[in-house]
């Protein structure tokens, strides 16, 4: 986590504005749903639209558009600049090194690994990081909102989600294991291809084509088996997960419906619940995926940091220069 803060320490103001926009966007959605609930209840009671309601709806829509646009812009801006800072820091560390040392490493495997790490960081920051922030903010605010609307219904529909989250975590681990096997098999297959290019003269002179072809075919078969096993397990676990993910909604509809019949809940509020339930249950179900992605991102950052520390000094690098 420290590394994530370090990545953004030169962009504190932009991060604060981005997070404020996220909050504003989520709040606008909640107010909009609250207003919709009121409108539905009014229509259900036989009353027509009223001017204040229409004005409020219009304000919420403008509010939502402004904050959502701002969030999109600021998250892209902040992310790009944070990764730019990291690249520049890396470039500065490289510039301070001996020419011979840099020339020797140019195009080597550590450099290629570092480039891949940077690519992963860039992708995560631009595609996932602020989406994750918005998801977390949305989760907290929506949960609070739903609790203020109806505590019993909120708890009732969220309880089985805990079980679902557990299932997703376990199935995610199983899929990860299979994915790892598949990646290893692919690496072995690619390794043979790389070797073929590397030892081509030897292969020709010693007529080892058939031997290597046989080995390559067996590696393709190994990879093929791993892919089939991975996809089979994924399909089984994901289809069950898809089926189970309907449970919260079914519970919400059945419990909410009976509450409406008893008169303890309005149709408008149930509509708001149905509309917003995904903000909470979706996050809980997919928490393991979010955490795994975030951990991978932290791992990428840590490896880049290690590399920078090896070659220069991350802690006294570019990150602290702009304050």
């Amino acid at each position: 986590m420290r590394r994530v803060f370090q990545l953004f320490q030169n962009r504190k103001r932009a991060v604060c504005f981005t997070l404020l926009c996220c909050m504003g966007s989520v709040l606008s959605s909640l107010f909009w749903n609250k207003e919709l609930a009121v409108l539905i209840d009014r229509v259900q009671e036989g009353n027509g639209l009223y001017r204040e309601g229409v004005v409020r709806c219009s304000i919420y829509l403008i509010w939502a558009a402004l904050f959502h646009g701002g969030m999109q812009f600021l998250s892209a801006y902040t992310g790009e600049y944070a990764v730019h800072d990291l690249r520049m820091s890396l470039a500065k560390v490289t510039m301070k090194r001996e020419y011979g040392e840099v020339a020797r490493e140019n195009g080597s495997e550590p450099v290629s690994v570092l480039q891949n790490e940077m690519e992963d960081i860039n992708r995560y920051v631009s595609e996932n990081l602020f989406t994750l922030c918005t998801t977390v903010i949305s989760f907290i605010l929506t949960l609070l909102f739903l609790l203020t609307q109806n505590v019993r219904l909120t708890i009732f529909y969220l309880l089985p989600v805990a079980g679902l989250a557990l299932y997703t975590t376990v199935s995610g681990k199983v899929i990860y294991r299979y994915t790892k096997i598949e990646q290893e098999q692919q690496k072995k297959m690619n390794g043979i291809t790389g070797v073929l290019l590397n030892v081509f003269p030897i292969v020709r002179i010693f007529e080892a084509e058939r031997l290597l072809e046989k080995r390559y075919q067996s590696r393709i078969a190994g990879w093929n088996d791993a892919v089939v096993a991975q996809e089979r397990v994924k399909a089984r676990l994901m289809s069950v997960s898809g089926m189970l993910s309907c449970i919260p909604l079914v519970l919400l509809m059945s419990a909410g419906g009976s509450m409406i019949l008893k008169g303890s809940l309005s149709i408008g509020t149930l509509y708001a619940f149905v509309n917003l339930s995904g903000n909470v249950s979706g996050v809980m179900i997919n928490i393991s995926v979010h955490l795994a992605n975030f951990r991978r991102f932290c791992g990428n950052l840590e490896r880049v940091r290690e590399c920078l520390q090896e070659k220069g000094d991350w802690d006294h690098g570019d990150f602290t220069e702009r304050g």
Binding site: P201, I202, L212
Partner: protein
Amino acid sequence: MGILLKEVSFGYGDKRILDKVSLAVREKEHIGILGCSGGGKSTLLKLLSGLYTVKEGYCEVEGETKPEGIRKQVAMVMQTPGVFPLSIRENITCGHPISEEKVWEAVQAAQLEEWVRSLPEGLDSLVEERGSNLSGGQAQRIAIARAIAKDAPVVLLDEPTSALDGETADALLRAMEPLTKGKTVIHVTHREETIQGYDRILVLREGKLFEKESL
């Protein structure tokens, strides 16, 4: 005649690397070729090993003129050993039906026996990609054992010791004696001490081949 080259020229694009090179090597003759980096030494060996096709001039190795035929007549040890990510046995036999006895003979001749016997899986021990689980000397000895096992009449050596330290290089030169004994040998190098005692020493300069004495 072991090897015969007549006015062979070769180049990459517009750049001419070999310019009308002629060479006659008797059977079992040992020839050392000296030259600086980029002088065309490796290109000459690639032509003699049938990796490149001669388009200008004439090339004959043990009576063969086509690259496929030439490749059957030569064994080569290169600067980089070029090991496969397979077992030690497969690295030596290259998938050809070579008897266990012959493989051990090659291992022994390349001074690998003690090391191979110390491995839990012996000849079936796996070599990792790019020989990452081997030392430079071990990888090069496997390449020598492979060349010995092929038992070809012509042996081509392309600076096989240049990537090794002095002591390992000396030991490797000793390990190469069984490989070169009774064979026609062309050894290209930029270090003259590695070809001491050879029948003839030639120099490749600016694409042309000279007898060392004539310089």
